[in-house]
Symmetry: C2
Subunit: 302 residues, 2 copies
Protein backbone atom coordinates (compact mmCIF):
# COMPACT_ATOMS: atom_id res chain seq x y z
CA UNK A 1 0.00 0.00 0.00
CA UNK A 2 1.02 3.61 -0.54
CA UNK A 3 0.41 6.42 1.97
CA UNK A 4 0.10 9.86 0.43
CA UNK A 5 0.15 13.11 2.42
CA UNK A 6 -0.25 16.47 0.75
CA UNK A 7 1.98 18.58 3.01
CA UNK A 8 0.96 21.89 1.54
CA UNK A 9 -1.21 23.20 -1.27
CA UNK A 10 -0.08 26.78 -1.89
CA UNK A 11 1.64 28.27 -4.90
CA UNK A 12 4.03 31.24 -5.08
CA UNK A 13 4.22 32.19 -1.39
CA UNK A 14 3.59 30.33 1.86
CA UNK A 15 0.56 31.71 3.70
CA UNK A 16 -0.26 31.57 7.38
CA UNK A 17 -2.53 28.55 6.96
CA UNK A 18 -1.29 27.19 3.66
CA UNK A 19 2.15 25.68 3.22
CA UNK A 20 3.74 25.55 -0.18
CA UNK A 21 2.84 22.55 -2.33
CA UNK A 22 4.76 19.42 -1.38
CA UNK A 23 3.87 15.75 -1.22
CA UNK A 24 5.02 12.96 1.07
CA UNK A 25 4.82 9.35 -0.15
CA UNK A 26 5.42 6.46 2.25
CA UNK A 27 5.70 2.82 1.28
CA UNK A 28 6.94 0.00 3.50
CA UNK A 29 8.45 2.37 6.05
CA UNK A 30 10.48 4.51 3.67
CA UNK A 31 9.45 7.84 2.19
CA UNK A 32 9.84 10.08 -0.82
CA UNK A 33 9.31 13.84 -0.72
CA UNK A 34 8.20 15.69 -3.84
CA UNK A 35 9.16 19.38 -3.79
CA UNK A 36 10.40 21.35 -0.82
CA UNK A 37 9.40 25.01 -0.62
CA UNK A 38 9.93 27.38 2.28
CA UNK A 39 8.44 25.83 5.41
CA UNK A 40 8.15 22.25 4.15
CA UNK A 41 10.15 21.01 7.15
CA UNK A 42 7.48 22.51 9.43
CA UNK A 43 4.71 21.01 7.29
CA UNK A 44 6.38 17.59 7.69
CA UNK A 45 6.20 18.02 11.48
CA UNK A 46 2.62 19.28 11.40
CA UNK A 47 1.57 16.31 9.29
CA UNK A 48 3.10 14.01 11.91
CA UNK A 49 5.23 12.13 9.39
CA UNK A 50 8.89 11.23 9.65
CA UNK A 51 11.67 13.38 8.24
CA UNK A 52 14.08 10.56 8.95
CA UNK A 53 12.24 8.14 6.63
CA UNK A 54 12.86 10.30 3.55
CA UNK A 55 15.48 8.66 1.32
CA UNK A 56 14.60 10.43 -1.91
CA UNK A 57 13.56 13.96 -2.86
CA UNK A 58 12.03 14.65 -6.27
CA UNK A 59 11.96 18.24 -7.49
CA UNK A 60 9.53 19.33 -10.18
CA UNK A 61 11.43 22.52 -11.08
CA UNK A 62 13.50 25.26 -9.55
CA UNK A 63 11.09 28.07 -8.84
CA UNK A 64 11.72 29.14 -5.25
CA UNK A 65 8.31 28.01 -4.00
CA UNK A 66 9.27 24.41 -4.83
CA UNK A 67 12.82 24.31 -3.54
CA UNK A 68 13.60 27.13 -1.08
CA UNK A 69 13.03 24.91 1.97
CA UNK A 70 15.73 22.48 0.92
CA UNK A 71 18.74 23.85 2.88
CA UNK A 72 16.79 23.92 6.14
CA UNK A 73 15.33 20.48 5.53
CA UNK A 74 18.74 18.98 4.79
CA UNK A 75 20.20 20.53 7.96
CA UNK A 76 17.29 19.22 10.03
CA UNK A 77 17.79 15.75 8.57
CA UNK A 78 21.40 15.98 9.69
CA UNK A 79 20.38 17.19 13.16
CA UNK A 80 18.10 14.15 13.41
CA UNK A 81 21.09 11.90 12.88
CA UNK A 82 20.84 10.95 9.22
CA UNK A 83 24.04 9.45 7.83
CA UNK A 84 22.59 7.42 4.93
CA UNK A 85 22.93 8.98 1.46
CA UNK A 86 19.99 10.99 0.18
CA UNK A 87 18.98 10.84 -3.48
CA UNK A 88 17.69 13.98 -5.18
CA UNK A 89 16.11 13.94 -8.64
CA UNK A 90 15.32 16.97 -10.75
CA UNK A 91 15.50 18.71 -14.14
CA UNK A 92 18.77 19.85 -15.66
CA UNK A 93 20.51 22.41 -13.50
CA UNK A 94 20.15 20.31 -10.34
CA UNK A 95 23.87 20.34 -9.57
CA UNK A 96 24.00 24.13 -9.89
CA UNK A 97 20.87 24.65 -7.76
CA UNK A 98 22.07 22.38 -4.97
CA UNK A 99 25.53 23.93 -4.99
CA UNK A 100 23.98 27.39 -4.75
CA UNK A 101 21.64 26.54 -1.89
CA UNK A 102 24.31 24.63 0.02
CA UNK A 103 26.16 27.89 0.55
CA UNK A 104 24.15 27.95 3.81
CA UNK A 105 24.29 24.18 4.41
CA UNK A 106 27.87 23.35 3.51
CA UNK A 107 28.38 20.59 6.06
CA UNK A 108 26.00 17.63 6.15
CA UNK A 109 26.65 14.30 7.87
CA UNK A 110 25.32 12.45 4.83
CA UNK A 111 26.04 12.53 1.13
CA UNK A 112 23.74 13.69 -1.66
CA UNK A 113 23.31 11.61 -4.78
CA UNK A 114 22.15 13.99 -7.48
CA UNK A 115 20.29 12.66 -10.51
CA UNK A 116 19.77 15.28 -13.19
CA UNK A 117 17.29 14.47 -15.94
CA UNK A 118 18.60 14.69 -19.47
CA UNK A 119 15.58 13.21 -21.31
CA UNK A 120 11.96 14.28 -21.54
CA UNK A 121 11.03 11.05 -19.79
CA UNK A 122 13.13 9.18 -17.25
CA UNK A 123 12.53 6.14 -15.07
CA UNK A 124 14.04 5.39 -11.68
CA UNK A 125 13.30 3.33 -8.59
CA UNK A 126 13.14 4.61 -5.00
CA UNK A 127 12.61 1.83 -2.46
CA UNK A 128 9.65 -0.19 -3.70
CA UNK A 129 8.32 2.62 -5.87
CA UNK A 130 8.87 2.91 -9.60
CA UNK A 131 8.99 6.50 -10.81
CA UNK A 132 8.56 8.01 -14.24
CA UNK A 133 9.50 11.67 -14.52
CA UNK A 134 7.90 13.32 -17.55
CA UNK A 135 8.47 16.77 -18.98
CA UNK A 136 5.61 19.25 -18.85
CA UNK A 137 5.11 22.86 -19.98
CA UNK A 138 6.07 25.70 -17.66
CA UNK A 139 8.20 28.84 -17.80
CA UNK A 140 11.32 26.76 -17.13
CA UNK A 141 12.11 23.01 -17.35
CA UNK A 142 9.56 21.19 -15.22
CA UNK A 143 8.61 17.55 -14.66
CA UNK A 144 5.65 15.65 -13.31
CA UNK A 145 6.06 12.33 -11.54
CA UNK A 146 4.17 9.09 -12.09
CA UNK A 147 4.61 6.72 -9.17
CA UNK A 148 3.87 3.02 -9.50
CA UNK A 149 3.91 0.35 -6.83
CA UNK A 150 3.99 -2.99 -8.69
CA UNK A 151 2.28 -6.09 -7.34
CA UNK A 152 3.56 -9.60 -7.89
CA UNK A 153 1.27 -12.34 -9.20
CA UNK A 154 -0.47 -14.76 -6.89
CA UNK A 155 1.30 -17.93 -5.79
CA UNK A 156 0.14 -20.73 -8.11
CA UNK A 157 0.51 -24.19 -6.51
CA UNK A 158 -0.46 -25.82 -9.81
CA UNK A 159 2.53 -24.25 -11.57
CA UNK A 160 4.78 -25.13 -8.65
CA UNK A 161 3.80 -28.80 -9.00
CA UNK A 162 4.08 -28.74 -12.80
CA UNK A 163 7.62 -27.36 -12.43
CA UNK A 164 8.46 -29.99 -9.80
CA UNK A 165 9.37 -27.38 -7.19
CA UNK A 166 10.10 -29.02 -3.80
CA UNK A 167 7.48 -28.08 -1.23
CA UNK A 168 10.18 -26.94 1.22
CA UNK A 169 11.13 -23.90 -0.93
CA UNK A 170 7.58 -22.75 -1.81
CA UNK A 171 7.21 -20.17 0.91
CA UNK A 172 10.57 -18.51 0.19
CA UNK A 173 9.81 -18.33 -3.54
CA UNK A 174 6.43 -16.87 -2.70
CA UNK A 175 8.22 -14.03 -0.82
CA UNK A 176 10.11 -13.19 -3.99
CA UNK A 177 13.57 -14.65 -3.37
CA UNK A 178 15.41 -17.25 -5.44
CA UNK A 179 16.32 -20.35 -3.39
CA UNK A 180 19.02 -22.99 -3.77
CA UNK A 181 18.06 -26.48 -2.60
CA UNK A 182 20.03 -29.67 -3.05
CA UNK A 183 22.16 -28.25 -5.86
CA UNK A 184 19.33 -26.64 -7.88
CA UNK A 185 18.30 -22.96 -7.94
CA UNK A 186 14.57 -22.19 -7.99
CA UNK A 187 13.06 -18.84 -9.00
CA UNK A 188 9.85 -17.05 -7.97
CA UNK A 189 8.69 -16.91 -11.59
CA UNK A 190 8.37 -20.71 -11.51
CA UNK A 191 5.63 -20.58 -8.90
CA UNK A 192 3.96 -17.19 -9.36
CA UNK A 193 1.12 -16.19 -11.65
CA UNK A 194 1.14 -13.07 -13.84
CA UNK A 195 1.87 -9.74 -12.04
CA UNK A 196 -1.34 -8.17 -10.78
CA UNK A 197 -2.49 -4.58 -11.05
CA UNK A 198 -0.41 -2.37 -8.80
CA UNK A 199 -1.04 1.12 -7.39
CA UNK A 200 -0.31 4.26 -9.35
CA UNK A 201 -0.53 7.98 -8.84
CA UNK A 202 0.69 11.14 -10.55
CA UNK A 203 1.86 14.39 -8.96
CA UNK A 204 2.10 17.31 -11.34
CA UNK A 205 2.67 21.04 -10.91
CA UNK A 206 3.43 23.66 -12.42
CA UNK A 207 2.20 23.26 -15.98
CA UNK A 208 -0.34 23.79 -18.70
CA UNK A 209 -2.32 20.66 -19.58
CA UNK A 210 0.00 18.54 -21.77
CA UNK A 211 -0.21 15.27 -23.67
CA UNK A 212 2.67 13.98 -21.53
CA UNK A 213 0.63 14.56 -18.37
CA UNK A 214 -2.53 13.04 -19.80
CA UNK A 215 -0.58 9.97 -20.91
CA UNK A 216 1.21 9.57 -17.58
CA UNK A 217 -2.04 9.98 -15.65
CA UNK A 218 -3.89 7.35 -17.71
CA UNK A 219 -6.10 5.35 -15.32
CA UNK A 220 -4.09 6.21 -12.19
CA UNK A 221 -5.67 5.77 -8.78
CA UNK A 222 -4.94 9.37 -7.88
CA UNK A 223 -3.92 12.45 -9.80
CA UNK A 224 -2.62 15.32 -7.69
CA UNK A 225 -2.64 18.21 -10.12
CA UNK A 226 -2.12 21.91 -9.96
CA UNK A 227 -5.14 24.17 -10.04
CA UNK A 228 -3.63 27.62 -9.73
CA UNK A 229 -6.92 29.37 -10.54
CA UNK A 230 -10.43 28.40 -9.49
CA UNK A 231 -12.33 30.84 -11.62
CA UNK A 232 -12.69 30.12 -15.35
CA UNK A 233 -12.40 33.86 -15.87
CA UNK A 234 -8.72 33.48 -14.98
CA UNK A 235 -8.16 31.36 -18.10
CA UNK A 236 -6.08 34.09 -19.75
CA UNK A 237 -3.94 34.38 -16.65
CA UNK A 238 -3.42 30.59 -16.68
CA UNK A 239 -2.29 30.77 -20.31
CA UNK A 240 0.02 33.66 -19.56
CA UNK A 241 1.67 32.12 -16.49
CA UNK A 242 1.62 28.55 -17.82
CA UNK A 243 -0.61 27.23 -15.05
CA UNK A 244 -4.10 25.63 -15.08
CA UNK A 245 -7.59 26.43 -13.99
CA UNK A 246 -9.63 23.94 -11.95
CA UNK A 247 -11.68 23.24 -15.07
CA UNK A 248 -8.64 22.39 -17.14
CA UNK A 249 -7.38 19.99 -14.49
CA UNK A 250 -10.81 18.36 -14.24
CA UNK A 251 -11.10 17.90 -18.01
CA UNK A 252 -7.63 16.39 -18.09
CA UNK A 253 -8.54 14.02 -15.23
CA UNK A 254 -11.66 12.95 -17.09
CA UNK A 255 -9.80 12.37 -20.35
CA UNK A 256 -7.13 10.36 -18.52
CA UNK A 257 -9.84 8.30 -16.75
CA UNK A 258 -8.19 8.73 -13.36
CA UNK A 259 -10.01 7.44 -10.28
CA UNK A 260 -9.64 10.62 -8.26
CA UNK A 261 -8.30 14.13 -8.70
CA UNK A 262 -6.88 16.32 -5.93
CA UNK A 263 -6.34 19.95 -6.81
CA UNK A 264 -3.38 21.80 -5.32
CA UNK A 265 -0.95 24.71 -5.83
CA UNK A 266 -3.54 27.42 -5.36
CA UNK A 267 -2.76 31.02 -6.12
CA UNK A 268 -2.47 33.25 -3.01
CA UNK A 269 -5.35 35.17 -4.61
CA UNK A 270 -7.59 32.12 -4.10
CA UNK A 271 -8.54 32.09 -0.42
CA UNK A 272 -11.42 29.63 -0.73
CA UNK A 273 -10.76 26.91 -3.34
CA UNK A 274 -13.86 24.96 -2.22
CA UNK A 275 -16.11 27.65 -3.68
CA UNK A 276 -14.98 26.66 -7.19
CA UNK A 277 -15.16 22.92 -6.54
CA UNK A 278 -18.77 22.25 -7.73
CA UNK A 279 -17.98 23.60 -11.20
CA UNK A 280 -14.92 21.34 -11.43
CA UNK A 281 -16.96 18.36 -10.20
CA UNK A 282 -19.42 19.00 -13.01
CA UNK A 283 -16.57 18.26 -15.39
CA UNK A 284 -15.03 15.39 -13.43
CA UNK A 285 -17.10 13.96 -10.59
CA UNK A 286 -14.36 12.73 -8.25
CA UNK A 287 -12.54 16.04 -7.98
CA UNK A 288 -11.47 17.07 -4.48
CA UNK A 289 -9.75 20.18 -3.19
CA UNK A 290 -6.38 19.40 -1.68
CA UNK A 291 -5.59 20.99 1.66
CA UNK A 292 -2.62 20.94 4.00
CA UNK A 293 -2.31 17.51 5.59
CA UNK A 294 -4.90 15.83 3.32
CA UNK A 295 -4.00 12.17 3.15
CA UNK A 296 -5.06 8.83 1.77
CA UNK A 297 -3.79 5.28 1.64
CA UNK A 298 -3.99 3.60 -1.72
CA UNK A 299 -4.51 -0.16 -1.34
CA UNK A 300 -4.09 -3.02 -3.76
CA UNK A 301 -7.40 -4.13 -5.25
CA UNK A 302 -9.41 -7.04 -3.69
Amino acid sequence: MLDIVLLGCGGTVPLKNRWLTACYLRCNGRAVLIDCGEGTQIAVKEAGVSLFAIDTICLTHYHADHVSGLPGLLLSMGNEGRIAPLAIYGPRGLQRIIEGLRVIAPELPFSLELHEFTQQQENFIAGDLHFTAFGVQHTLPCYGYRVHLPRAGKFDPGRARENNIPLVVWSKLQKGSAVEWEGTTYYPRQVMGEPRKGISMVYCTDTRPTASLETAAQSVDLLICEGMYGDDEKQDKALETLHMTFSEAAVLAKNARVKALWLTHYSPSLPDPESFLPAAQNLFFNTQCGCDGKRTTLQFED
Copy 2:
Protein backbone atom coordinates in the same frame (compact mmCIF):
# COMPACT_ATOMS: atom_id res chain seq x y z
CA MET B 1 10.12 56.99 17.96
CA LEU B 2 11.19 53.48 17.05
CA ASP B 3 8.79 50.54 16.65
CA ILE B 4 10.34 47.17 17.35
CA VAL B 5 8.67 43.85 16.49
CA LEU B 6 10.30 40.53 17.31
CA LEU B 7 9.07 38.47 14.36
CA GLY B 8 10.30 35.15 15.69
CA CYS B 9 12.25 33.85 18.64
CA GLY B 10 13.44 30.37 17.66
CA GLY B 11 16.93 29.10 17.02
CA THR B 12 18.09 26.29 14.71
CA VAL B 13 14.75 25.21 13.23
CA PRO B 14 11.37 26.88 12.78
CA LEU B 15 8.70 25.26 14.94
CA LYS B 16 4.96 25.22 14.45
CA ASN B 17 4.41 28.10 16.85
CA ARG B 18 7.83 29.67 16.87
CA TRP B 19 9.34 31.39 13.85
CA LEU B 20 13.07 31.75 13.53
CA THR B 21 14.61 34.78 15.23
CA ALA B 22 14.19 37.96 13.23
CA CYS B 23 13.52 41.56 14.16
CA TYR B 24 11.61 44.33 12.40
CA LEU B 25 12.47 47.97 13.12
CA ARG B 26 10.25 50.77 11.88
CA CYS B 27 11.04 54.46 12.08
CA ASN B 28 9.22 57.26 10.28
CA GLY B 29 7.48 54.88 7.89
CA ARG B 30 10.53 52.96 6.71
CA ALA B 31 11.75 49.63 8.05
CA VAL B 32 14.85 47.53 8.63
CA LEU B 33 14.79 43.76 8.95
CA ILE B 34 17.44 41.98 10.99
CA ASP B 35 17.94 38.34 9.93
CA CYS B 36 15.69 36.32 7.67
CA GLY B 37 15.39 32.60 8.39
CA GLU B 38 12.97 30.17 6.80
CA GLY B 39 9.44 31.49 7.20
CA THR B 40 10.32 35.10 8.02
CA GLN B 41 8.11 36.33 5.17
CA ILE B 42 5.15 34.59 6.84
CA ALA B 43 6.13 36.01 10.23
CA VAL B 44 6.12 39.49 8.66
CA LYS B 45 2.53 38.91 7.52
CA GLU B 46 1.45 37.45 10.84
CA ALA B 47 2.90 40.44 12.67
CA GLY B 48 0.85 42.73 10.43
CA VAL B 49 3.83 44.82 9.37
CA SER B 50 4.79 45.91 5.88
CA LEU B 51 7.18 43.97 3.67
CA PHE B 52 7.15 46.89 1.29
CA ALA B 53 8.56 49.30 3.90
CA ILE B 54 11.80 47.31 4.29
CA ASP B 55 14.68 49.18 2.66
CA THR B 56 17.50 47.48 4.53
CA ILE B 57 18.25 43.95 5.68
CA CYS B 58 20.97 43.33 8.27
CA LEU B 59 22.30 39.80 8.62
CA THR B 60 24.06 38.68 11.78
CA HIS B 61 25.74 35.64 10.19
CA TYR B 62 25.16 32.95 7.59
CA HIS B 63 23.84 29.98 9.51
CA ALA B 64 20.75 28.80 7.63
CA ASP B 65 18.35 29.69 10.46
CA HIS B 66 19.24 33.37 9.99
CA VAL B 67 19.24 33.62 6.22
CA SER B 68 17.36 30.75 4.53
CA GLY B 69 14.19 32.81 4.10
CA LEU B 70 15.95 35.43 2.02
CA PRO B 71 15.22 34.16 -1.53
CA GLY B 72 11.51 33.83 -0.83
CA LEU B 73 11.37 37.21 0.89
CA LEU B 74 13.16 38.94 -2.00
CA LEU B 75 10.77 37.35 -4.52
CA SER B 76 7.76 38.39 -2.45
CA MET B 77 9.10 41.94 -2.29
CA GLY B 78 9.29 41.87 -6.08
CA ASN B 79 5.76 40.47 -6.33
CA GLU B 80 4.57 43.36 -4.17
CA GLY B 81 5.97 45.78 -6.71
CA ARG B 82 9.26 46.87 -5.19
CA ILE B 83 11.55 48.61 -7.64
CA ALA B 84 13.66 50.68 -5.21
CA PRO B 85 17.13 49.29 -4.40
CA LEU B 86 17.43 47.17 -1.27
CA ALA B 87 20.51 47.41 0.94
CA ILE B 88 21.85 44.26 2.60
CA TYR B 89 24.55 44.36 5.28
CA GLY B 90 26.44 41.37 6.63
CA PRO B 91 29.76 39.79 7.55
CA ARG B 92 32.40 38.89 4.97
CA GLY B 93 31.10 36.35 2.49
CA LEU B 94 27.90 38.30 1.84
CA GLN B 95 28.44 38.44 -1.92
CA ARG B 96 29.00 34.67 -2.09
CA ILE B 97 25.96 33.90 0.09
CA ILE B 98 23.63 36.12 -1.91
CA GLU B 99 24.92 34.76 -5.21
CA GLY B 100 24.36 31.21 -3.96
CA LEU B 101 20.84 31.82 -2.71
CA ARG B 102 19.85 33.79 -5.81
CA VAL B 103 20.17 30.63 -7.86
CA ILE B 104 16.43 30.32 -7.10
CA ALA B 105 15.71 34.06 -7.28
CA PRO B 106 17.73 35.14 -10.30
CA GLU B 107 15.35 37.82 -11.53
CA LEU B 108 14.27 40.63 -9.23
CA PRO B 109 12.68 43.93 -10.30
CA PHE B 110 14.98 45.83 -7.92
CA SER B 111 18.71 45.93 -7.33
CA LEU B 112 20.59 44.76 -4.26
CA GLU B 113 23.25 46.94 -2.70
CA LEU B 114 25.53 44.60 -0.79
CA HIS B 115 27.66 45.95 2.06
CA GLU B 116 30.13 43.40 3.36
CA PHE B 117 31.83 44.20 6.67
CA THR B 118 35.60 44.21 6.65
CA GLN B 119 36.20 45.57 10.16
CA GLN B 120 35.24 44.32 13.60
CA GLN B 121 33.10 47.42 13.98
CA GLU B 122 31.32 49.30 11.21
CA ASN B 123 28.90 52.21 11.13
CA PHE B 124 26.19 52.90 8.60
CA ILE B 125 22.92 54.78 8.30
CA ALA B 126 19.57 53.37 7.18
CA GLY B 127 16.82 55.98 6.91
CA ASP B 128 16.87 57.90 10.18
CA LEU B 129 18.62 55.11 12.08
CA HIS B 130 22.32 55.00 12.83
CA PHE B 131 23.71 51.47 12.99
CA THR B 132 26.86 50.09 14.50
CA ALA B 133 27.67 46.49 13.59
CA PHE B 134 30.07 44.89 16.08
CA GLY B 135 31.81 41.52 15.87
CA VAL B 136 30.85 38.90 18.45
CA GLN B 137 31.96 35.33 19.15
CA HIS B 138 30.27 32.44 17.35
CA THR B 139 31.30 29.43 15.28
CA LEU B 140 31.61 31.65 12.22
CA PRO B 141 31.87 35.43 11.67
CA CYS B 142 28.91 37.02 13.41
CA TYR B 143 27.85 40.59 14.24
CA GLY B 144 25.46 42.24 16.64
CA TYR B 145 23.74 45.51 15.77
CA ARG B 146 23.42 48.67 17.84
CA VAL B 147 20.69 50.94 16.53
CA HIS B 148 20.53 54.60 17.48
CA LEU B 149 17.89 57.16 16.64
CA PRO B 150 19.46 60.57 17.33
CA ARG B 151 17.44 63.52 18.59
CA ALA B 152 18.18 67.12 17.73
CA GLY B 153 18.48 69.75 20.45
CA LYS B 154 15.58 71.98 21.41
CA PHE B 155 14.99 75.21 19.50
CA ASP B 156 16.62 78.01 21.50
CA PRO B 157 15.06 81.42 20.75
CA GLY B 158 17.74 83.09 22.89
CA ARG B 159 20.49 81.76 20.61
CA ALA B 160 18.49 82.69 17.52
CA ARG B 161 18.28 86.29 18.72
CA GLU B 162 21.96 86.38 19.77
CA ASN B 163 22.89 85.18 16.26
CA ASN B 164 20.57 87.77 14.66
CA ILE B 165 18.58 85.14 12.80
CA PRO B 166 15.55 86.69 11.04
CA LEU B 167 12.28 85.51 12.56
CA VAL B 168 10.99 84.44 9.14
CA VAL B 169 13.48 81.52 8.86
CA TRP B 170 13.16 80.22 12.46
CA SER B 171 10.60 77.51 11.75
CA LYS B 172 12.51 76.08 8.78
CA LEU B 173 15.75 75.99 10.77
CA GLN B 174 13.87 74.31 13.59
CA LYS B 175 12.88 71.51 11.17
CA GLY B 176 16.54 70.85 10.42
CA SER B 177 17.08 72.51 7.04
CA ALA B 178 19.52 75.26 6.14
CA VAL B 179 17.76 78.34 4.72
CA GLU B 180 18.92 81.14 2.43
CA TRP B 181 17.33 84.53 3.06
CA GLU B 182 18.27 87.85 1.52
CA GLY B 183 21.70 86.61 0.43
CA THR B 184 22.70 84.93 3.71
CA THR B 185 22.58 81.21 4.54
CA TYR B 186 21.39 80.24 8.02
CA TYR B 187 21.97 76.85 9.64
CA PRO B 188 20.00 74.86 12.23
CA ARG B 189 23.02 74.76 14.56
CA GLN B 190 22.64 78.56 14.97
CA VAL B 191 19.25 78.20 16.63
CA MET B 192 19.26 74.73 18.19
CA GLY B 193 20.50 73.65 21.60
CA GLU B 194 22.75 70.63 22.23
CA PRO B 195 21.47 67.31 20.75
CA ARG B 196 19.28 65.49 23.26
CA LYS B 197 19.36 61.86 24.29
CA GLY B 198 18.09 59.69 21.47
CA ILE B 199 16.76 56.14 21.44
CA SER B 200 19.03 53.13 21.30
CA MET B 201 18.71 49.37 21.19
CA VAL B 202 20.90 46.37 20.52
CA TYR B 203 20.01 43.14 18.76
CA CYS B 204 22.50 40.34 19.24
CA THR B 205 22.50 36.63 18.38
CA ASP B 206 24.32 34.13 18.10
CA THR B 207 27.21 34.61 20.49
CA ARG B 208 28.94 34.03 23.80
CA PRO B 209 28.91 37.10 26.08
CA THR B 210 31.62 39.42 24.73
CA ALA B 211 33.17 42.74 25.71
CA SER B 212 32.04 44.11 22.32
CA LEU B 213 28.43 43.29 23.11
CA GLU B 214 28.60 44.69 26.64
CA THR B 215 30.14 47.91 25.29
CA ALA B 216 27.59 48.26 22.49
CA ALA B 217 24.70 47.60 24.87
CA GLN B 218 25.86 50.20 27.41
CA SER B 219 22.72 51.97 28.75
CA VAL B 220 20.53 51.11 25.75
CA ASP B 221 16.77 51.31 26.09
CA LEU B 222 16.38 47.70 24.96
CA LEU B 223 18.72 44.78 24.54
CA ILE B 224 17.34 41.90 22.47
CA CYS B 225 19.78 39.12 23.22
CA GLU B 226 20.02 35.44 22.53
CA GLY B 227 19.20 33.02 25.31
CA MET B 228 19.63 29.66 23.65
CA TYR B 229 19.36 27.76 26.93
CA GLY B 230 17.12 28.49 29.91
CA ASP B 231 18.61 26.04 32.34
CA ASP B 232 21.95 26.88 33.99
CA GLU B 233 22.78 23.20 33.74
CA LYS B 234 23.14 23.74 29.99
CA GLN B 235 26.15 26.02 30.64
CA ASP B 236 28.58 23.47 29.15
CA LYS B 237 26.40 23.18 26.06
CA ALA B 238 26.39 26.99 25.73
CA LEU B 239 30.19 27.02 25.91
CA GLU B 240 30.44 24.24 23.36
CA THR B 241 28.02 25.73 20.82
CA LEU B 242 29.05 29.35 21.48
CA HIS B 243 25.64 30.44 22.67
CA MET B 244 24.37 31.84 26.00
CA THR B 245 22.20 30.80 28.89
CA PHE B 246 19.44 33.10 30.17
CA SER B 247 21.64 33.80 33.22
CA GLU B 248 24.57 34.91 31.09
CA ALA B 249 22.36 37.26 29.09
CA ALA B 250 20.87 38.67 32.32
CA VAL B 251 24.28 39.28 33.89
CA LEU B 252 25.45 40.99 30.72
CA ALA B 253 22.32 43.18 30.67
CA LYS B 254 22.95 44.17 34.30
CA ASN B 255 26.61 44.99 33.69
CA ALA B 256 25.67 47.06 30.63
CA ARG B 257 22.96 48.89 32.64
CA VAL B 258 20.38 48.41 29.91
CA LYS B 259 16.80 49.46 30.62
CA ALA B 260 15.21 46.22 29.45
CA LEU B 261 16.28 42.82 28.21
CA TRP B 262 14.29 40.59 25.83
CA LEU B 263 15.52 37.03 25.49
CA THR B 264 15.23 35.29 22.13
CA HIS B 265 16.71 32.56 19.90
CA TYR B 266 15.55 29.68 22.07
CA SER B 267 16.74 26.16 21.47
CA PRO B 268 14.05 23.84 20.03
CA SER B 269 14.67 21.82 23.21
CA LEU B 270 13.28 24.73 25.26
CA PRO B 271 9.48 24.56 24.87
CA ASP B 272 8.65 26.85 27.80
CA PRO B 273 11.15 29.71 28.18
CA GLU B 274 8.93 31.44 30.77
CA SER B 275 9.69 28.69 33.29
CA PHE B 276 13.31 29.88 33.46
CA LEU B 277 12.43 33.58 33.56
CA PRO B 278 12.27 34.09 37.37
CA ALA B 279 15.87 32.93 37.77
CA ALA B 280 17.00 35.36 35.08
CA GLN B 281 14.98 38.18 36.68
CA ASN B 282 16.81 37.52 39.94
CA LEU B 283 19.98 38.50 38.10
CA PHE B 284 18.49 41.39 36.11
CA PHE B 285 15.05 42.59 37.13
CA ASN B 286 13.71 43.87 33.80
CA THR B 287 14.26 40.64 31.87
CA GLN B 288 11.41 39.53 29.61
CA CYS B 289 10.96 36.48 27.43
CA GLY B 290 10.66 37.37 23.79
CA CYS B 291 7.90 35.69 21.84
CA ASP B 292 6.72 35.81 18.24
CA GLY B 293 5.12 39.18 17.55
CA LYS B 294 6.28 40.80 20.81
CA ARG B 295 6.52 44.51 20.19
CA THR B 296 7.25 47.85 21.76
CA THR B 297 7.60 51.46 20.76
CA LEU B 298 10.60 53.27 22.17
CA GLN B 299 9.84 56.97 22.68
CA PHE B 300 12.07 59.96 23.22
CA GLU B 301 12.28 60.95 26.89
CA ASP B 302 9.98 63.67 28.33
